[in-house]
């Protein structure tokens, strides 16, 4: 009888926690593998901002090239060569990103532009990819693992990305 009463209570607590988190925070998406690799990609406060966390038990070596996917014509389409796992521009870090268990990395956020995507550039010809629905896809350095981040939206106007 006691067990029967505790089970619904646990469900209510879980449901409340889920509802609270769903309302108050961006829901991160994680992918794991049999090798115990787990990376969580969480969206940042600004559109295009994100953070990666190694939730697994062994170090990860991440490819710095991030694939941006745009939702278009009822499928995810790849945009390559725009976003990198970098936290600085002068100079830009090179090689794989080593992420120890439990540690996080906050790359420079994507502006939504083709030029000046993360680092300051002088852009006279420039493509803006918004408005639309996007997500990031990361790979490990040997290309065997792939992690897909949660969706985010770019606003109609580029500068609105800084106003949130």
């Amino acid at each position: 009888m006691g067990q029967l009463r505790r089970a619904p209570l646990a469900c209510v607590i879980l449901a409340c926690a889920f509802a609270l988190c769903f309302q108050s925070c961006q829901w991160p998406e994680a992918a794991s593998s049999s090798r115990g690799l787990m990376l969580v990609i969480a969206n940042g406060k600004l559109p295009g901002g994100f953070r990666v966390t190694n939730k697994g038990e062994i170090p990860l070596s991440l490819d710095r090239e991030v694939t941006v996917e745009i939702w278009d014509k009822a499928k995810w389409n790849e945009i390559k060569g725009i976003v990198k796992l970098i936290d600085g521009c002068n100079p830009q870090p090179k090689g794989c990103l080593r992420l120890m268990p439990g540690s996080s990395f906050g790359p420079l956020s994507w502006t939504g532009m083709s030029c000046g995507a993360q680092c300051g550039e002088a852009c006279r010809a420039n493509e803006y990819y918004g408005p639309g629905k996007f997500r990031y896809v990361l790979k490990d350095c040997d290309g065997k693992e792939r992690w897909t981040g949660p969706e985010f939206e770019l606003p109609k106007v580029p500068t609105d990305a800084y106003k949130n």
Binding site: E121, R124, A125, N126, Y129, P158
Partner: protein, 286 residues
């Protein structure tokens, strides 16, 4: 021999250009524009029922003059001041350049048109920078599109080599003047300019740290003060034919090595820097 002829052409301004107030982000001031969006329409006719060979319609864009300087000042007079000039030679060797997109939407500068062929704008069903008419029945109407969102940035702090002190961004003026042309390239590779319009973007703003100790990042700064007279965007009327403008006539379809992004970034990497060991006024015209 069948030939094709150019019929009616139009440019429609879908979105007038606009500038956003500068935003302080990270360690830089960012200057974003809300972009210009154009639609073109070109009708090809001919003296035969079939169009001979490949014809392409698209937009060509040149930037024909640029103002680009940033003034920095130390916390105290003895910390000095400096002017970073990126709009004049030798930082910017020539004013006029042809504007084409860089990677990943890459259009080589010698592709002449602003954007690449066969690229559909993300989020649209069929908007393209260039439209082609394969051999077939004429008349045929092509509807190329154009959009551009120029952007620039300036670092919030620079070190003054004369005083060895950090100088802080104090004032910036940017002016980008463009001419955008609706054009057709025939199967022989010759271009016909059908319509053109002038447009520009301008920013002038003053900057001041709120906390000098934190001024390496945006958190240590007051909101920028926009100079209303120096800030805005304009687009002119649409003219027929090729622009008869000696200031940029030589770069419209000429083969060249660098596009405007490369020219501007070269100036950013190697600007003219004039430094003073006091708070000085600099002549921004040179």
């Amino acid at each position: 021999m069948p030939t094709a002829a150019l019929g009616v052409s139009h440019i429609l301004i879908n979105q007038r250009p606009g500038v956003s107030p500068p935003v302080l982000f990270g360690a830089e001031a960012r200057f974003s524009s809300t972009g210009i969006i154009l639609s073109g329409q070109v009708t090809l006719s001919g003296n035969a029922p079939h169009l001979p060979g490949d014809w392409w319609a698209g937009f060509i864009q040149v930037e024909w003059v640029e103002t680009n300087w940033a003034y920095y000042r130390g916390k105290d007079k003895v910390d000095g001041s400096l002017l970073v000039q990126m709009g004049r030679a030798p930082a910017r060797l020539r004013q006029a350049c042809r504007d084409t997109l860089d990677a990943p939407v890459r259009q080589p500068v010698n592709g002449i048109f602003y954007g690449p062929p066969n690229y559909v704008w993300p989020g649209t069903s069929n908007a393209r920078y260039q439209e082609s008419a394969a051999p077939g029945t004429v008349p045929v109407t092509l509807n190329p599109r154009h959009r551009d969102f120029p952007f620039d940035q300036k670092p919030l702090v620079r070190r003054n080599a004369k005083t060895g002190k950090v100088n802080f961004l104090t004032e910036v003026q940017l002016e980008f003047h463009f001419c955008t042309m609706l054009a057709v390239r025939d199967q022989a590779g010759s271009f016909a300019i059908l319509k053109h319009l002038y447009w520009n973007l301008r920013w002038q703003a003053k900057f001041e740290p709120s906390n000098f100790a934190m001024a390496a990042s945006a958190a240590g700064w007051k909101p920028p003060t926009v100079e209303a007279l120096g800030t805005g965007a304009n687009v002119g009327v649409i003219h027929d034919g090729r622009p008869l403008d000696a200031r940029f006539g030589g770069v419209v379809t000429a083969l060249q090595a660098s596009n405007c992004n490369a020219v501007a970034n070269a100036a950013e990497r190697n600007p003219i820097i004039r430094e003073s060991n006091q708070w000085d006024n600099f002549d921004v015209r040179r």
